[in-house]
């Protein structure tokens, strides 16, 4: 019985990490679907968002230095979202716009450049020390779960999972039910046809990068609340790659399920198989899993069905 509960706890903590992977992968998928751009900078976007948010909240930030006060959390989060939208706009104006007609590999390289620029900028503006991010998410274990089920689960993990669920639901509604969401899906299907009906791609790109930026912000908040805002945050982008291979590069549900599978998988493997092979499975588990998928199911779990019909 105790053994089962322990497994459950491992799974739940894996889910928390999985949610993070899923959110970063989701940002990737959105941009990749809409513009065919493989955005290497997605992880850095999460870092940048978390840094910006920290800056609004902390007394050692630029915002405080300039204005002499800090923002309350409920204002700082929308303000950071605004910064991410602004950033999306700048990226479109300064980078994408000039490269649209280039090969995809060139756009990919541009995003690598962007990742370095953003990381450097973050370092320059905010310094590279670990910053505690406290937006008032209750800390510690949930007493209720502990008392009733004898289960140790961090409150933060519950909040993170709930937030991610709300975010994903909101995105689904946005994509399925709104005019702009429909236009985004249209662009993902066929750029040329989208242009022909008067959808302007530059506007769509700003929107999709903004949405990805906000998803990154949510990821950044969660990770930052858990382990502080630090540069290792941008490294979770590296874990997003196996998630994408697992879930399929163009599938939103794939990004989510893929993220959760890898998050849980690596934790469980670490705990149960780790001791047998000397540990550190967590570091390579995702890549081995992805490799297996590349060999046997290259389109991923949810790889979009290519409609073939004349």
């Amino acid at each position: 019985m105790a053994f089962d509960l322990f497994l459950l706890e491992v799974v739940i903590s894996g889910l928390m990490t999985g949610v993070m992977y899923a959110l970063v992968a989701l940002g990737f998928v959105l941009i990749f679907k809409a513009s065919g751009v493989f955005n290497f900078a997605q992880g850095v976007l999460a870092l940048f968002a978390a840094l910006a948010l920290y800056d609004f909240l902390a007394e050692d930030g630029w915002f405080f230095a300039v204005f002499g006060f800090t923002l309350p959390v409920w204002l700082a989060i929308p303000a950071t979202a605004l910064i991410m939208i602004l950033l999306a706009w700048v990226i479109e104006r300064a980078v994408l716009r000039f490269l649209v007609k280039q090969e995809e590999i060139i756009l990919f390289m541009a995003t690598i450049g962007l990742a370095f620029v953003l990381e450097g900028l973050g370092d320059l503006l905010f310094g590279s020390d670990v910053k505690p991010l406290d937006i008032g998410i209750p800390q510690g274990a949930s007493d209720w779960l502990l008392d009733n089920f004898n289960l140790y689960v961090e409150k933060l993990e519950i909040v993170a999972a709930a937030t991610a669920a709300v975010l994903v639901t909101a995105l689904a509604i946005f994509f399925q039910k709104t005019r702009v969401g429909r236009a985004l899906r249209a662009v993902a299907d066929d750029h040329q046809a989208a242009l022909s009906v008067g959808i302007s791609l530059d506007k769509i790109w700003v929107i999709v990068w903004s949405v990805s930026g906000i998803v990154a912000l949510v990821a950044g908040i969660m990770w930052g609340s858990k382990s502080g805002v630090q540069f290792s945050l941008s490294l979770i982008a590296l874990k997003a790659l196996p998630v994408l291979i697992l879930g399929g590069f163009t599938s939103v549900p794939g990004a989510i399920v893929g993220g959760l599978i890898i998050g849980v998988g690596e934790k469980v493997a670490e705990v149960y198989v780790g001791p047998l092979v000397g540990g550190a499975i967590e570091n390579w588990f995702a890549y081995v899993l992805a490799l297996g998928f590349l060999l046997f199911r290259p389109q991923g779990l949810f790889g979009e069905r290519i409609i073939e019909r004349v």
Binding site: K101, R179, R182, A183, R185, A186, A188, D189, D190, H191, Q192, A193, A194, L195, S196, V197, G198, I199, S200, E304, I307, R309, V310
Partner: protein, 275 residues
């Protein structure tokens, strides 16, 4: 009074001696001129590779996405120079293209496809809903399939989706590229009949590119014949349809292996006479 007549006769769309170059080096249109009168159905004819699609894309400004450039000449719509306008702006003003090969949004439903056509509109949901009903009146088959993914509908249905989607923008002129491509003759006829009704009842002007010369000339009132990036002949559709050279070349009345319209003797005579 005379001013009214004048403006009625004015071309809705006019292409003046345009040159188009792809990738900075491939010269494809070498001075194409044509006019589309308001309320007309104009056919742009010619063999594969003649430059029909390029001409339409030059008008709708979809060339940019293919690294094409209009390097000479001008294009006017309702008397205004429209060459520098984005496709978005052109659709707003009433010029929309239905691309060759239909280009439906495969993963969107039929109805969602139609609604994307209304993307640029700002006159409110109820107006858009009215027009959706109108499109379903013209294409009852689309209403039956409104919730199907467009990628899983037949070629004919996809062509209807593409035309219906353009209609949803409430266009003044539709640039229709090869509607007959890959469709059974009966369906082609059905599509052209709808084009005719849209033209007569809804007042939509059409510029249609077609390889199916005779079908297009049956429904058009004026035609241009394009060859190798140049207009080699134009005239009333009924006259073109009766023209010996057109018949000879495009209907293969003569059995000779004539690869080019230029090789048709009578055409040379006519051309000398023209110039």
């Amino acid at each position: 009074m005379s001013a009214v007549i004048q403006s009625e006769r004015e071309a809705l769309l006019s292409v003046n001696n345009i040159e188009v170059i792809y990738d900075h080096v491939i010269l494809v249109l070498k001075g194409v001129s044509l006019e589309v009168m308001k309320g007309g159905v104009v056919a742009l004819l010619g063999a594969n590779g003649a430059g029909k699609s390029t001409t339409l894309k030059a008008i709708s400004n979809l060339l940019g996405a293919e690294r094409g450039d209009v390097t000479k000449g001008s294009i006017t719509f309702q008397g205004e120079d429209v060459q520098s306008l984005s496709p978005n702006e052109l659709v707003r003003r009433g010029v929309i293209q239905v691309m060759e090969g239909r280009h439906c949004f495969e993963h969107l439903t039929v109805e969602e496809n139609l609604l994307t056509g209304a993307y640029t509109r700002t006159d409110g949901r109820s107006r858009v809903a009215e027009d959706l009903d109108l499109v379903y009146q013209y294409f009852p088959r689309l209403k039956e399939r409104r919730t199907s993914q467009a990628g899983y509908t037949s070629g004919g249905e996809q062509q209807m989706v593409a035309v219906g989607r353009a209609l949803m923008a409430r266009p003044a002129v539709i640039l229709l590229d090869e509607p007959s491509m890959g469709l059974a003759p009966q369906l082609v006829e059905e599509i052209f009949e709808i084009v005719k009704r849209l033209n007569e009842d809804e007042g939509v002007t059409f510029l249609l590119a077609e390889q199916n010369t005779m079908m297009a000339l049956r429904y058009a009132n004026y035609g241009y014949i394009l060859e190798n990036g140049r207009v080699v002949m134009d005239g009333e559709a009924s006259v073109l349809a009766e023209n010996e050279d057109v018949k000879e070349f495009y209907l293969g009345v003569s059995g000779d292996d004539r690869r080019s319209f230029r090789n048709v003797k009578a055409y040379r005579r006519r051309k000398r006479w023209l110039s």
